[in-house]
């Protein structure tokens, strides 16, 4: 039975449960609402909750667990010979494809269920049969693959049947349990509220689950990568040249260098502009100027990064090339110009800096505003001008917070993807020239994981190690920045 139908049946049962539970409660009180412990609706909700929640939870767990169990069982059956020159995940995807193909063929009437169960590869060309129902196979079906596919189908259909029966049983059992408990003295509201509370806790725990998911998916694949590629070569290698034919050199240093260089350029643009803007807005600007300028600057933060990426690639890159390139006015200073292509550290850094301006200015603005007015008044009272007060009193007082803001901006810059994918270039190199094309950790994660790469090769798995590095780096920066900001805030509260 399709999952959708199971869900519909459970929901219908729950609705029926609501109505019946409510009626039973009212009936037990002799149709007198006042002698019930809770409002009548709570009795209904109680039955509905016991019907739907355990059943749907079981359904969810089953749907996650069944493919896992079936996969391990089937892959244990696959003979070693089939793995020759290939790997488990590819073979398993073949098996799944054949199994799904057979099911599709039965659904479309190209094969009967009995035929599908007893296919003889000598007499039928399975590839052609499946092709006729729209399932394209790369090569002819191997007997071992077919065997595994049949096991897979068998286990899946048994599992599906068991799931349907058990889920519906759970729904009915919950229904009966809650229905029979319903009488006028039953504390329905308390039970329902306990249930809702559990649901609320579950929703809040999704944040933890997400973090666990991120960490697990990074850690497992990273360990897998380090099994195939030495860890020291990854962290200390100075060459990045992946080749899917083998013999790749996957050193992270050129990528880290590119990342930090671009972030540095971005911060050199964003921090002075953002900081001065924040100082002006919080100390000098009239209320009406502030009311107009602040939202306008924040528009820069609301623009999607793909827009900045395109801006870097198609506008800023060619513009810089016309100045610093081979035909530009500066070409005479360097042999053939500093810049050879539109994509460069400078291009990406400049555009990323623009993106970060509102980030720096908003955070600094908040921090400067949090400096107590008494400090300003004291400084003015001593005869200092406004700018002297800012330079000698407010900025030193706000410094920890501003450092925190800059660190947060750095973490943003390091994790930024679209601008560097489009604007920084694809070549990994260790160079000091800001007009050279370089690449970053995030750009390489994208390039190693898009396309038809085989997920078991070190060239694809390296992306997870890069992701892990990125995650640890940004997390460290964030925690450090929040620590600084928090410590500073406590001083004045």
């Amino acid at each position: 039975m399709p999952v959708l139908w199971i869900v519909v049946i459970v929901v219908v049962l729950a609705v029926v449960g609501f109505v019946m539970g409510r009626m039973r409660a009212l009936h037990s009180a002799g149709e007198d609402r006042r002698s019930l412990h809770s409002l009548p609706n709570y009795y209904g909700f109680n039955v509905a909750m016991f019907t739907a929640v355990p059943a749907l939870l079981l359904l969810l767990v089953w749907m996650v667990a069944q493919p896992l169990i079936v996969n391990t069982r089937v892959s244990a059956e696959i003979p070693e010979a089939l793995l020759d020159g290939s790997n488990m995940s590819l073979v398993m995807s073949d098996v799944r494809r054949v199994a799904d193909g057979l099911d599709t063929a039965i659904a479309q009437g190209a094969l009967s269920a009995r035929q599908a169960a007893n296919i003889d590869l000598q007499t039928t060309d399975l590839r052609e049969v499946l092709g006729s129902v729209g399932v394209a196979l790369g090569s002819s079906v191997d007997p071992a693959t077919l065997n595994a596919a049949q096991t897979y189908r068998g286990m899946t259909s048994t599992g599906d049947l068991a799931m349907t029966v058990l889920v519906l049983l759970a729904a009915i059992a919950g229904f009966a349990f809650a229905y029979l408990r319903t009488n006028k003295d039953f504390r329905a509201r308390n039970t329902v509220e306990k249930g809702v509370r559990v649901l609320l806790i579950a929703a809040a725990s999704i944040a933890i689950l997400t973090t666990i998911g991120i960490v697990l998916s990074l850690v497992f694949n990273t360990i897998e990568f380090f099994r195939l590629y030495p860890i020291t070569d990854f962290f200390f290698g100075t060459t990045w040249s992946p080749s899917f034919g083998g013999g790749s050199e996957l050193g992270i240093l050129p990528l880290l260098w590119g990342t930090l260089y671009i972030s540095l350029v971005a911060l050199l643009v964003a921090v002075p502009i953002g900081l001065f803007a924040a100082v002006y807005l919080s100390e000098y600007a009239t209320k009406s100027v502030r009311g107009v300028v602040k939202p306008l600057l924040e528009v820069l933060a609301g623009i999607p990064t793909i827009v900045y990426g395109l801006f870097a690639l198609l506008t800023v890159g060619p513009f810089l090339l016309s100045i610093f390139g081979a035909n530009g006015p500066t070409a005479a200073m360097a042999d053939g110009g500093w810049m050879h292509a539109g994509t460069a550290v400078m291009t990406a850094g400049l555009v990323m800096g623009i993106m970060l301006i509102p980030f720096v200015s908003s955070l600094s603005d908040d921090i400067i505003n949090a400096v107590p007015q008494s400090l300003r008044d004291g400084s003015y009272g001593l005869g200092a001008t406004k700018s002297e007060t800012i330079k000698q009193v407010i900025l030193p007082a706000a410094l920890p917070g501003i450092v925190g803001a800059v660190l947060l901006a750095t973490s943003r810059a390091i994790g930024e993807t679209m601008i560097v994918v489009l604007g920084a270039g694809a070549a990994a190199r260790l160079s000091m020239n800001p007009f050279d094309a370089m690449t970053t950790v995030t750009a390489k994660i994208v390039s190693q994981l898009t396309g038809d790469a085989d997920f078991a090769s070190p060239e694809a798995l390296v992306a997870f190690a890069l992701g892990m590095t990125l995650f640890v780096l940004t997390l460290g920066l964030n925690i450090f920045a929040l620590y600084i900001v928090r410590k500073y805030r406590e001083q004045y509260e």
Partner: protein, 450 residues
């Protein structure tokens, strides 16, 4: 002040306070400089914004115009329906290769009739002027209505992307020496045909509602299908992130005891808000595609990833909205005998709803423009040409999304796609602007000062 003490008490000041000494002048100048720096910084920031917007509009506006060729095509029965029975099955056997010469011939006839002077005298010479999509457009019209065969029908077909670029000023005569897709003689003819009204520009509805096209047909590419993909993703995000986010915020703000578990959740939420979006893409790839075997490139998977990404944003703004509801409301509810749960769900939540919706819309806007995670779950490199068959299929059938489509166009070799990418950005920004305006209106209309 310092001057006065130096002169000693009792002695009258020799100079007026209105006369500025060198030091005061220096200090005032420094004050002015500092202020100018601030204004300069704001000016630069705003200038960047203006440059960005002007670039987007000036590069993208042309994507909404497209060059069309109006030409009467004689649908030759001898070629299209050799058996002469108008049987739809037989008509289908005539491929676009059969239609192509008819259209080229028709255009040549139109050229001769318009009195244009040109050396191009063969039907083949017209090939570069019209889009490769013209043949299938005519074929579809014939298959839809076989009675057209044997008559002359006026068609409005797309001009080729080179002709379009020429009329928009991107392709110049002196740059096309090596271009095998267009010749100078053809461009001369285009000029004459434009004056004769056969070639003209029109509003490009196909760009907004149409499907993406392959690398060689820039003139045909549209963003419509990927817009649909984005729509399905936003639906997933809304349906999942709003209830989960609100439930989590209610727990944290109203019920959570102060203990380690609560702290753990809080730390996790604030950290997730700062995790780079690409890491969520890795999570989606590893968990939803490798582990759970959900289909690649499906809006469902994209929506799930974006849900996880926007949850922290929604939770943070929802908590702020809940916090803004004064405690007196809760106390009053509890005082008349409501349970804690009732006070929250019946009183606090409805009052916080405008704030929650505002936060959700802003979270959705953020998710709509996000690209990086979508790259990892296979939403690029895929040409979004087919609209899904039905509502549920839309969640699982491969599709693109607006930002992914823009990225895809930016990567293609033909510069004609750049115009589409900018145009796509205009559409994307209009959506974002709309969402933000709705959020602002909601806030203005329902905001309450307690």
């Amino acid at each position: 002040m310092s001057d006065a003490t130096q002169h000693g008490a009792g002695q009258p000041a020799t100079r007026s306070l209105h006369h500025l000494d060198a030091r005061t002048k220096r200090r005032n100048a420094s004050e002015k400089r500092f202020k100018a720096l601030g204004i300069g910084a704001i000016g630069i920031g705003l200038a960047f914004l203006v440059i960005l917007l002007v670039t987007i509009v000036s590069n993208g506006a042309t994507a909404f115009q497209q060059t069309f060729v109006e030409v009467p095509v004689y649908l030759d029965a001898a070629k299209l329906d050799k058996k002469g029975n108008r049987d739809p099955e037989d008509l289908k056997k005539a491929t676009t290769f059969t239609y192509k010469p008819l259209i080229e011939k028709a255009l040549l006839d139109a050229v001769e009739k318009s009195g244009a002077t040109t050396d191009l005298a063969k039907a083949k010479d017209m090939k570069n002027l019209i889009s490769a999509s013209a043949a299938s457009q005519v074929r579809d019209a014939v298959l839809a209505d076989p009675s057209l065969i044997g008559t002359t029908v006026d068609f409005k077909i797309l001009a080729s992307s080179r002709v379009d670029s020429y009329l928009k000023g991107r392709v110049h005569r002196d740059e096309i020496a090596k271009d095998k897709n267009i010749t100078v003689a053809q461009l001369d003819l285009v000029d004459q045909l434009r004056d004769a009204g056969i070639i003209h520009k029109g509003f490009n509805w196909a760009f907004i509602f149409g499907a993406d096209a392959s690398d060689s047909r820039a003139e045909q590419a549209g963003i419509g299908i990927s817009m649909l993909g984005s729509f399905y993703m936003m639906l997933v995000v809304l349906v999942l992130a709003l209830p989960i986010g609100v439930a989590a915020s209610i727990y944290l703000e109203e019920f959570a005891p102060k203990n380690r578990f609560t702290d753990l959740i809080e730390v996790n939420i604030s950290n997730l808000a700062a995790v780079p979006s690409i890491v969520f893409g890795i999570l989606g790839l590893a968990v939803f595609i490798q582990f759970a075997h959900l289909p690649q490139s499906a809006p469902l998977v994209g929506g799930l990833v974006l849900t996880l990404m926007t949850l922290p944003t929604i939770i943070i703004s929802t908590r702020a909205a809940l916090k803004a509801v004064p405690p007196s409301i809760r106390d009053a509810a509890l005082g008349v005998g409501a349970s804690k749960m009732q006070s929250v769900f019946h009183h606090v939540l409805p009052l916080a709803m405008p704030g929650i919706l505002t936060g959700t819309i802003i979270g959705l806007a953020q998710a709509l423009g996000e690209t990086a995670p979508l790259l990892l779950i296979g939403m690029v490199g895929y040409i979004a040409t087919n609209s899904p068959d039905g509502f549920l299929d839309g969640f699982v059938s491969p599709n693109s999304a607006m930002p992914a489509q823009i990225y895809e166009w930016a990567k293609r070799a033909d510069p004609a796609f750049y115009e589409r990418a900018w145009g796509g950005i205009i559409i994307l920004l209009i959506f974002l602007l709309g969402m933000n305006i709705i959020a602002i209106i909601l806030r203005r209309k329902f905001e309450r000062r307690w």
